[in-house]
């Protein structure tokens, strides 16, 4: 974050504080940083406080460490989730003492801040590799890597260069690997899944660990500093709200690393809201009925429909923009046209599920690969109809346009495209209807949409959940169909909609 933006945020926070936000003395204000895990933890804490009858507010995704820390010092928030390693490195760097938790607490206490015990998990750096490789090579610890000098490693820029990163890790363990590449964190996961690299750095609670079936190697020499999750709170919190404080203490040690991975995965991959994930966790782990139904069925379906429409709109509009020029090119040059149609035809024959999965190594998981796959599916019908619409135009019409003196561009614009418009529109309609149906598979790769309840319904064998996705999807397809019929009466020139000799 730039200094300017940080300054703005801080002054905004200060302004909010002076504007009299302290009018509700019993209210507990929880902050969180702008990444999934922090938001989920913030939500868990907030709901936990509310379950005691106290009032609580979650100020989610406020920013990075500095913003949260300063907001806490300013009394703008009462607590937020933090990691011991971050406190040591970024909040009170160069502190005196032995670096133990107690010495940390002592330093923080001087600023009026308290620190709970560990919530139960660490989110540290670690090395990971594919589970099947780890089993095959019998690798469970980082020191086991010494036996395999030819393994290919890909590390994030930060890990390659920071103090406790790769250079010191390599020295500490005497690791012999030389094929080491710098990769973006997300790309590294995909490269690992695709088999382009054999190991990478990761955070121990990443959602992708389960998704890609990765094994975390034990740090048997204790190289990585500890990043245990804790809560930082203002020292007056226990006094101000004893029941809330008691509930928060009960959270200590209750979230295992596997739990946190699952919670992250539910938010990031299954697109469940942080609120819902948090309340599910409290209900199953702490037996606390926090917030019964975090999202009504109507709102949930509405959200799925919007996600679904976003997938369809993005992929279809990209397909229209690409496919019509392709169709024009294909109609003008017969051999190029044959090649274009052949390629598009081959893409169309790939089963949709397979196409979606092919996209993962290229674009990872989430919305982008789903849009890309849907785009590829939508191209062919539009190209094919554009070609047949253009090549079906009677030669005498084209010759009339030529002899009138129209340039080929003008002929295309004023004669050919209007005449081909019914066919082109029919192609777009076909693509749109296919797209609405196929987009339900997008949920398989984390793109959300109406496939999400279908998928969850199949997993939980819950017919009502399946219908929650299937019925809106079917209605949506019908509506798209109807929409294009209406569009036809606007976009297709009137003269083409008349019956001859009418």
């Amino acid at each position: 974050m730039t200094g300017l933006r940080r300054g703005l945020l801080l002054s905004l926070l200060a302004g909010l504080a002076s504007a009299g936000c302290r009018t509700a003395p019993g209210e507990v204000r929880v902050g969180s940083k702008k990444f999934t895990e922090s938001v989920v933890l913030g939500e868990i804490v907030t709901q936990l406080v509310r379950s005691t009858g106290a009032r609580a507010e979650h100020r989610a995704q406020l920013g990075g460490t500095q913003v949260l820390w300063h907001a806490l010092l300013a009394g703008e928030i009462d607590l937020y989730p933090e990691y011991t390693g971050t406190i040591r490195e970024d909040i009170v760097p160069g502190m005196s003492g032995d670096g133990s938790d107690d010495s940390l607490r002592a330093v923080l206490a001087r600023q009026g801040i308290g620190m709970t015990g560990s919530l139960g998990f660490e989110d540290s750096y670690a090395l990971g590799m594919r589970e099947d490789d780890a089993v095959r090579l019998n690798v469970t610890r980082i020191s086991d890597l010494r036996a395999y000098p030819r393994l290919r490693l890909g590390f994030s820029e930060e890990f390659l260069h920071r103090g406790d990163g790769w250079p010191r890790l390599k020295r500490r363990y005497g690791l012999p690997q030389t094929d080491v590449r710098q990769l973006d964190h997300d790309v590294a996961y995909r490269a690992l899944a695709a088999g382009d690299i054999d190991g990478t750095d990761l955070y121990t609670t990443d959602a992708e660990i389960r998704y890609y079936h990765l094994t975390i190697l034990a740090d048997d020499l204790g190289h990585f500093p500890s990043y245990r999750a804790v809560l930082l709170y203002r020292s007056d919190l226990p006094r101000r709200s004893p029941p809330a404080w008691a509930a928060l203490r009960a959270l200590q040690g209750r979230i295992a690393v596997g739990d946190m991975q699952r919670l992250n995965a539910r938010v990031k991959l299954e697109r469940v809201s942080e609120r819902a994930v948090a309340s599910d966790f409290l209900a199953t782990t702490l037996r606390i009925q926090a917030e019964a139904a975090p999202e009504g069925r109507g709102r949930r379906v509405g959200r799925y429909v919007l996600e679904h429409l976003a997938l369809v709109a993005a992929s279809l509009s990209a397909a229209i923009v690409v496919a019509i020029p392709l169709g024009i090119a294909a109609a003008r040059r017969r051999r190029l046209g044959a090649a274009i149609l052949a390629v598009a035809g081959v893409v169309q024959t790939i089963p949709s599920l397979a196409l979606l999965v092919f996209m993962i190594p290229l674009l990872g998981i989430g919305t982008a690969p789903a849009v890309a796959a849907l785009f590829l599916y939508s191209v062919l019908p539009i190209v094919r109809n554009t070609v047949s619409g253009l090549t079906g135009i009677s030669g005498s019409l084209l010759e009339s346009a030529d002899v009138l003196g129209l340039s080929s561009t003008a002929r295309l614009r004023k004669v050919e495209l209007p005449l081909a418009s019914p066919a082109i529109l029919a192609g777009i309609q076909t693509s749109a209807v296919i797209n609405v149906g196929t987009a339900t598979l997008g949920a398989l790769i984390g793109a959300g949409g109406l496939g999400q309840p279908i998928l969850t319904g199949i997993r939980l064998d819950d017919m009502s959940l399946i219908l929650e996705g299937a019925i809106p999807a079917a209605l949506l397809a019908l509506m798209v169909q109807a929409l294009f019929e209406r569009l036809g009466s606007v976009l297709i020139p009137k003269g083409l909609r008349l019956r001859p000799d009418a």
């Binding site: 009677s394 005498s396 019409l397 010759e399 009339s400 346009a401 030529d402 002899v403 009138l404 003196g405 129209l406 003008a410 004023k414 004669v415 209007p418 005449l419 418009s421 020139p493 009137k494 003269g495 083409l496 008349l498 019956r499 001859p500 000799d501 009418a502």
Partner: protein, 272 residues
């Protein structure tokens, strides 16, 4: 039958688009020099040298005789396999075809009207494309409606809403919109029923007379040739059999085919 004087009366406002014909009748506007047109192995037009001048020239012959091919060569839609085609002394080539086409009008067989455009939009498409202003286009449209006896309110209708004869008139107006010096028509009366045909035929002759420009008209119908032609070019199997005034063809046939073709279409009591 060439009127070199500006017309007066009803079509008097046409004079702005009418060029004074100063060339002598035999001065060539169209020239073919050893032109051959092959489609694959088929010679649609065998080596032909021909000159056509001002007046109504009718390309006459049975189907497959090469008359439509000849017309297409004049529009640049077909390019000669050998030899060259000249308009106003200029060889038709990719570089010259654009400017040359602005000086000619073409009524394609079956009209070739754009079904997505109204009659008016069909007629004015080229004028709009070449940047005429709205007032000039409106004036031109009025003139053309008067010339072709087409109801002004019919301009708002689409080709599918017009009769065959009306479509031909619109097609003719479209060819005339820029005021061409050369008008090419491919079987303009081809698919019309007899009543409409007779009416349009008479109107066409009057239009040709008023415009006083060079016309090339393709037909297989001797009666049509007789009705329109200042000069007839009779074709058979891709070859010009004879050209000249129709009377010359009757009186001094160059070939037994000429007599056969003429007598096959002559009815007892037809014009001599």
């Amino acid at each position: 039958m060439v009127s070199s004087r500006p017309s007066t009366g009803r079509s008097g406002d046409l004079i702005t688009y009418q060029r004074q014909v100063t060339l002598p009748l035999d001065s060539p506007i169209i020239e073919l020099r050893d032109v051959v047109k092959r489609y694959g192995a088929v010679e649609a037009l065998k080596a032909t040298t021909l000159s056509l001048g001002v007046g109504v020239n009718v390309l006459l012959g049975p189907s497959g005789s090469g008359k439509s091919t000849l017309l297409r060569l004049l529009t640049g839609l077909a390019r000669p396999s050998a030899g060259e085609v000249l308009l106003w002394g200029q060889v038709i080539a990719p570089r010259t075809i654009g400017p040359l086409r602005r000086r000619l009008g073409y009524v394609i067989q079956e009209g070739g009207l754009f079904p997505h455009l109204t009659a008016g939009a069909n007629v004015t498409l080229a004028a709009r494309y070449f940047g005429w202003d709205a007032r000039r286009i409106e004036t031109r449209l009025e003139e053309l409606c008067a010339l072709t006896h087409f109801p002004r309110d019919g301009m708002a209708r689409f080709p599918a809403q017009l009769s065959g004869g009306q479509r031909q008139r619109v097609s003719l107006m479209r060819a005339l919109v820029l005021g061409p010096e050369l008008l090419l028509l491919d079987e303009p009366l081809g698919s019309l029923d007899p009543m409409i045909r007779a009416e349009l035929r008479a109107d066409l002759r009057e239009i040709f007379r008023v415009l006083g420009q060079t016309v090339v008209l393709v037909t297989h119908d001797l009666a049509e040739a007789e009705f329109f032609a200042d000069r007839v070019v009779l074709l058979r199997d891709g070859r010009v059999v004879q050209e000249g005034r129709l009377l010359e063809l009757v009186e001094r046939p160059a070939d037994p085919f000429v007599t056969r073709f003429i007598s096959a279409q002559s009815r007892p009591g037809a014009h001599g």
